[in-house]
Symmetry: C2
DNA sequence: TCGAAGTATGCGAACGTTTGCATCGTAGCC
DNA sequence: GGCTACGATGCAAACGTTCGCATACTTCGA
């Protein structure tokens, strides 16, 4: 293993100079610097991360905590975060908490001491999790809390766009198929939809309640949605929309003929299913990238306390929305 | 920050004893051990990973290199690997190489020195990548090479199952829609299908060329598949199957009426699309788990050189396969 | 020409842990 | 009862880096 000592010996300088030439080049005379870097390259020197962490206190790695890596939403965020971390020359520890609050707290407690900062995606137990951070900087994704910086998307703008679209098609009664009760994101989407509806005096929102943020959640909700008399539904995420469509189809009902559906996130399943989903697109990789940038700024103490504005959400119209049935089908009331 | 020194002082022993009590409990008398562990817990002691890495040479972390984290296949593998690493008390660095061979080599070179071992999934440049490992142990996933241990799935059994299924439905001419030319996995699937066909004297395989392992790859292949006169197709993975179905539908052709399609992997998109895909299921999380177990055995020098047998592949029949059209539709020949 | 100021480099301690070796005490054996 | 042997614990070095401080050398002004 090549160490600073080897490089120093070959380059004919002291190890301090080697260290400085590589870490703080401006503090070393140009010719020396060049000699050192050349030798280092030739010898294939790679600084021992552990040693520099130990001495300098910086680990050169960030941590990413997500509830479910197999969820296309978090997979994309993770991909963006990883790419950006690499661009910053940082490693990325990834932990999947399996939607488990205790595991999440443990993960953070374990990760905090060995990273420079943490990216917490949709934490399930934000208070305890933040408590486990110690003094480690962190950035929240999809959640706001305390004094921690956060990356959120513009639910307000998104929901307004969705509602305008549905209203333009002629819908006047729109159901919201919500995600987990503990989800901060769900609360925001819900509120944003109500807020958007308040702008118009002829649109009504039917809030429906906590469902699992997976396909099965949509299946569970489907009958209730249809019975509610709504002619359109906005769902917590794309997976829920898929489940909704599936269950309706099983009952012989067609989307968008009998019900219009708007998903959320534009995770890549939205375009795959049939009908392809109208959905609110978030640039998920950008969420990861922005989170890492924010975290790096924080770690570097270049921490401008300034919060990043909510990331844009854009309505993507595909085939799951259409005008409501001319004469609403007769429906049982619940 | 709580160190061994603090624990030692409070427990009234030396730091060596503390270290031993925590790392090699059997080398410390029971009462002492208990006192130390109690104090450590009370003080909230967490060993400094960097320091122990530096001294002991073990990093307590593994590395996972995947071509695309947003691909449901790798996302699931990563999820399994992460969970198992955690169970072993190890961290997991994840790197997404974006299907780029150079990035892959760099990633491995950077990761190798700061991890105890690497899990290489479907490497794109296996020779150079293995070269970059240095002496670091590694396990290959979906690839076999050199003397490295590897985790592979039973393509042979899977393809035989798929072909038996199709043959039982009445298909006699089956296309294989292949993945990237550089993919070891593709070569194996291709060979396995031919091998399976050789068992019957009435089934013919039409091998089709290198396509991208994404939805668009399936779209590209669709017209060729149909023109080939095959009544069924087996695809490199589920995404390719989805693209195939899409393009055929756009031409007014129906799956499974006009063509039967068998996907590969049973990534979760297989069940989402319509028609739900008949596919060859691999327990993807188990791939990740097994890979980590194998790697841990290797790292612990408990390295039984024994290779893990190929993981089982199981045919899941859904709605994308059916008997071939009674009278094959007239088709242009290419 | 001398001193001050500044720049480039070297010296050595420190980070927190693990571990080989030394030490101490005690139990077992003859 | 003395000697051996072994188990439990302590001491101190070492891992490879960073960084405060000291030193040597250069440059400039008076």
């Amino acid at each position: 293993m090549v160490t600073v000592h080897d490089v120093a010996r070959v380059a004919g300088v002291s190890i301090s100079t080697v260290s400085r030439a590589l870490a703080t080049p401006e503090r070393v005379a140009a010719p020396t610097r060049e000699r050192v870097t050349t030798v280092a390259r030739e010898l294939g020197y790679r600084p021992n991360r552990a040693a520099s962490v130990l001495r300098a206190g910086r680990s050169g790695a960030l941590g990413l905590v997500v509830p479910d890596l197999a969820n296309p939403y978090f997979a994309s965020v993770a991909k963006g975060a990883q790419a950006r971390a690499r661009e910053h020359g940082l490693g990325l520890f990834v932990v999947d908490t399996d939607e488990d609050a205790d595991l999440e707290v443990d993960a953070v407690a374990g990760l905090a001491p060995q990273t420079d900062g943490l990216l917490l995606c949709s934490p399930r137990a934000v208070d305890r999790t933040v408590g486990a951070l110690g003094a480690r900087p962190a950035v929240l994704v999809n959640q706001e809390a305390d004094g921690l910086p956060s990356i959120v998307v513009d639910h307000r703008g998104g929901m307004l766009g969705a509602l305008e679209h549905l209203r333009a098609l002629g819908h006047r009664r729109v159901a919201y198929v919500g995600g987990p009760a503990s989800s901060w994101s769900d609360a925001r989407r819900r509120a944003a939809l109500h807020e958007a509806a308040a702008r118009f005096d002829d649109v009504e929102v039917v809030p429906l309640g906590a469902y699992r943020p997976q396909v099965e959640g949509g299946r569970s909700a489907a009958d209730l949605v249809y019975a509610s008399g709504a002619t359109a539904a906005v769902t917590f995420n794309d997976l829920v929309a898929v489940g909704l469509v599936e269950r309706l189809a099983a009952r012989g009902l067609d989307v968008p003929r009998d019900l219009s559906v708007v998903g959320c996130d534009d995770s890549y399943v939205a375009a795959l299913v049939s009908p392809p989903l109208t959905t609110l697109r978030t640039d998920l990789r950008n969420v990861g990238r922005t989170g890492v940038d924010r975290l790096v700024a924080l770690v570097g103490a270049r921490g401008d306390g300034s919060d990043v504005p909510p990331l844009a959400v854009e309505l993507v119209v595909r085939d799951s929305t259409a005008p409501p049935p001319a004469r609403p089908a007769a429906r049982p009331t619940v």
